[in-house]
């Protein structure tokens, strides 16, 4: 019976209820979306950075080099001679060096020339076929394969520069797809991987035709893992000061990027908190005005024998109903928005967001809202407690 009373009271003034719920939904939805994007962005960035202590490439913007080499967004800063990388790999502080050769595309997806170590770093597994072993064999990331309907055994033609940049196709040489990778949350989901030799062969073959001159072998960059922390402390500075190469520490560059984007996210977060506050005020005002209207009904229920505790419970539950509906709808809104972001690829193309897990920060927001809702019931409860039944019933 009390449940029915609470439900009917909540629906008694539907416009007020809808307004409060919309405000709650927006506040919770926006803050939850920001938390999800921020958390998952950091998680994914950190995942892609595993085992990469330093990147070495051509001089230019270190952030651009990190973004292009690790996350496969933005253009590379240039090329560097392989012999420099080989020299670096023999340094006692260096444990592992993975060369990266970029610049070629299949349609809009990147083709990365590298070694088997690159696939191992991301724990890549083959879903169909096998890993590429010979020149002009290629494995395709799961997302890329689905995007272009690519299958094992098909041949693809690469181009220098992506399709949007009026690229130049390497028509003389084609790649044989030997494998499709299993889906993963890492960057390799959206790219094609071949050997560095394949990239060299394609370019060398074309240059032979055009210029017939011998060129030294080059790659775009190299991912370096150090043997000891001394490497991080000494090598980047030494490389930047004494060679024609550029060294960058990815974690530092990414933190700089997150600091900049973090300002925007924080502003949005505060706007969301402001909306939640407005929702709380709206509910509080609705409750106070309803309390004035229902003063006689409350006195009536007291005269029928309802204890103060029952009436407090009714007051609190009514507010919590609005709050709960707002929280549920807000959480759904943030998840649907994230699905939309993924579907439309407004987000960084190589990053997909995992929708349905609830984050610690979201729980903090939810419990804070519930706490504030309960706090806002103090005044109505005080009014109910003070109510003079006889006076209220006799005066109305």
């Amino acid at each position: 019976m009390i449940g029915k009373l609470i439900l009917n009271n909540c629906l008694h003034k539907p416009l007020n209820a809808v307004l409060s719920i919309i405000l709650f939904t927006l506040g919770v939805g926006i803050s939850s979306l920001i938390i999800l994007v921020e958390f998952q962005l950091k998680q994914k960035l950190n995942y892609d950075l595993v085992d990469i202590d330093m990147i070495v490439g051509a001089k230019g913007s270190p952030l651009q080099m990190v973004l292009s080499t690790i996350f496969q967004v933005d253009h590379p800063t240039g090329n560097i001679p392989v012999k420099e990388i080989e020299k670096l790999s023999r340094h006692p502080y260096v444990e592992k060096t993975i060369p990266i050769a970029m610049g070629d595309y299949y349609k809009e997806s990147k083709i990365v020339g590298t070694t088997i170590d690159y696939l191992k770093k991301y724990h890549a597994e083959v879903e169909k076929g096998r890993i590429n072993q010979r020149p002009f064999e290629i494995v395709i990331g799961n997302n890329m394969a689905n995007r272009y309907q690519l299958k094992v055994g098909m041949h693809i033609t690469s181009s220098h520069g992506n399709a949007l940049d009026k690229s130049e196709e390497h028509k003389d040489q084609q790649y044989l797809i030997t494998g499709i990778l299993k889906p993963s949350n890492s960057v390799i989901n959206n790219i094609a991987i071949t050997s560095v030799e394949s990239i060299w062969n394609i370019h060398h073959h074309e240059k032979d035709n055009k210029h017939d001159e011998k060129e030294e072998k080059q790659v775009t960059a190299a991912l370096i893992k150090f043997r000891s922390p001394m490497g991080v402390m000494t090598l980047p500075n030494w490389i930047n000061q004494n060679t024609n190469l550029q060294a960058a520490i990815p974690i530092i560059e990414i933190n700089k990027l997150l600091d900049i984007t973090g300002l925007g996210l924080n502003t949005l977060k505060w706007i969301a908190y402001l909306i939640i506050l407005v929702a709380l005020i709206s509910i509080f005002i609705t409750m106070i005005s309803r309390l004035q209207e229902r003063k006689v009904e409350i006195a009536l229920m007291r005269s029928l024998g309802a204890s103060k505790l029952i009436l407090f419970t009714i007051c609190i539950t009514e507010i919590l109903v609005y709050c709960a509906i707002g929280i549920i709808l807000g959480m759904l809104l943030s998840r649907i928005s994230l699905t939309f972001l993924n579907a439309t690829q407004i987000s960084i193309p190589t990053i997909e967001f995992d929708n349905w897990t609830i984050k610690q920060d979201e729980l903090t927001v939810i419990f804070s809202i519930i706490g504030l809702c309960l706090l806002s019931t103090i005044f109505p409860i005080f009014k109910v407690y003070q109510l003079n039944i006889a006076k209220t019933l006799n005066e109305n």
Binding site: M1, I2, N9, L300, S303, G305, S307, A390, L393
Partner: protein, 211 residues
């Protein structure tokens, strides 16, 4: 059933109200009359447990009301007392059936008294009005629901405050006949306060309050 002795009450900045001894037994209704402002409604609020800061003794079925804590008084009111207010207040978001069920719920009798309530609906000819909201009913119809609400929870004492003041002659007569009959049938002690002269002929046991 009810004995109220030496009752005195004073609202802030007003004259003190002193009442004669009030005694009421089941099946013999008591009519309390008096001019407006003589304290009739206040008197009814005291045995109803709605006013607690009075002087004097109120015994209902052997229980001294002033000896009860606030929580126990709430429970006592729910279990023993049915009140018919001058203005028939109902919860506006609930229909009439739900309003009656709410009163029964607070009186803890919804299970055992279902049949009694159905009988009352039938007896007072309100079955076709059960799913209407309070604002959709006429004064006569809503006063009948007030009576059902007061009686449905097996109240031992029913306190009616001006139950006929807003009714025409025909409805007033009907309401009084219903109240008297129900009190006789169910052995309820009934106290009516009213300044409605139409009622004086219907009651042998009367007290007139002086201003």
């Amino acid at each position: 059933m009810l004995l109220a002795e030496d009752i005195q009450f004073q609202y802030p900045n007003t004259k003190k109200l002193s009442y004669p001894t009030i005694q009421c037994t089941s099946q013999i209704p008591l009519l309390i009359t008096g001019e407006s402002g003589c304290g009739k409604t206040t008197l009814l609020s005291i045995p109803g447990g709605l006013i607690t800061n009075y002087k004097g003794n109120v015994m209902i079925d052997g229980t001294n009301l002033s000896s009860l804590t606030k929580t126990k008084l709430d429970r006592f009111r729910a279990d023993y007392i049915g009140i018919i207010h001058q203005k028939p207040f109902f919860v506006s978001s609930l229909n009439m059936k739900e309003n009656i069920a709410l009163a029964a719920y607070f009186g803890n009798v919804q299970e055992k008294n279902t049949d009694v309530t159905k009988q009352l609906f039938d007896q007072l000819k309100v079955e076709h009005l059960l799913f209407k909201k309070p604002t959709e009913l006429s004064s006569g119809e809503i006063q009948r629901f007030s009576i059902i609400r007061a009686i449905c929870k097996n109240a031992k004492l029913v306190l009616a405050d001006e139950p006929t003041s807003s009714l025409d002659n025909q409805n007033a007569l009907q309401v009084i006949q219903l109240l008297n009959q129900l009190c006789l049938d169910k052995g309820i002690a009934l106290i009516i306060v009213s300044h409605d002269t139409r009622l004086t002929k219907s009651y042998s046991h009367q007290i007139n309050l002086l201003k």
